[in-house]
Amino acid sequence: MEFPITGVTINPLLLAGIGFLVGILGGFFGVGGGFIAGPLMFWAGVPMNFVVGTDMAHMTGKSIVATRRHRALGHVDIKLGLLMVVGTILGVECGAQILEALKTVGSMDMVIGLIYIVILVVISAFTAWESLRALRMVREERIDVQEAMGFEGVAQRVYRINLPPMVSFPASGIASISLWVVLGVGFITGLLAGMLGVGGGFIRMPLLVYLIGIPTHVAVGTDLFEIVISAGYGTLTHAVKGNVDILMALVMQTGAAIGAQIGATSTRFFAGPRIRLFFSALPLVGALLVLFRLLSGGMLHF
């Protein structure tokens, strides 16, 4: 079928299939899935300038479906998500400005790419180590698997920061936390996303669990809620620049919607540590894709 906006011919079932795959990942892990959807869309023949914008558009729709499902399961902290968005937007803008300033320096693509790989590998290794430790604790100490956390030190220290104003998040089980911590987490995620040109799901989900100390299921749902707002904003800005094929995004969304529902519903059948263990593989995939891009672009040699 021909998509007249981009002028390319692609089988709509292939696009729906890509959406389906990314939808499952998004619904289950609370990530946007751009790191997989982007290369797949490009491989399917979508022009590069349309890949990012169209992916954002379908991500918005998919995240709406997944967020609604997570909300029905009680996994979305709206207040936390809305407050974090403020920090995220500031961070994205700062990240984009830093990136522009660094463009004047040579080899920046390689440096940013390598920093990104290091961050992703660290997140992956840490999440895997912590979730395996939590699962061992469940086996040996017979504690509730949903509550098990192999690493709580940072969250406990964060709660002791008494920098006003203090806020509470009853939906996440947090009695009192400094607002600046929440804004800071949003800012760091946005900064990295703005600098590295990727969505922040990779980074935000672990930060919500380990730094803010909210349950994994709520982290997934709240992360998706934030993606709805940030991807919706991204869709508008990219569409105004002529980089979104809405027809393609609508087709992708049909697949993504079912995938997101399946992914979101599936979280009910897995405990927090297991979700985190599965999640730990995702940043590695992202790191490998960046490494491949650096090698194929001739920016890195062995």
Partner: protein, 82 residues
């Protein structure tokens, strides 16, 4: 998880997949053909309107797909796993 629950979950999954496969085909045949021309025209004439129309369509489709499948699953008596 009990074997019976897994069986119901798989049935739930299969039904949702069939519903969505049908929706994808309907979209390709009817909706896209209807929207194709006006959206392409809008893309070439007014990008701001196109951007808001596009976002509106995405949001509306997301809400619609969610509502349709939830309704069908309820009608089929499979909502216990939701």
């Amino acid at each position: 998880m009990e074997r019976k629950k897994i069986r119901v979950l798989l049935r739930n999954l299969a039904i949702e997949l069939i519903i969505y496969a049908i929706l994808v085909i309907i979209y390709s045949i009817i909706v896209l053909r209807l929207l194709s021309e006006p959206l392409t025209q809008l893309f070439h004439t007014n990008l701001v309107t196109y951007a808001f129309a596009g976002l509106g369509l995405i949001v509306a489709q997301g809400a619609l797909l969610d509502a349709v499948t939830s309704f069908l699953l309820k009608q089929l008596g499979l909502e216990q796993l939701e």
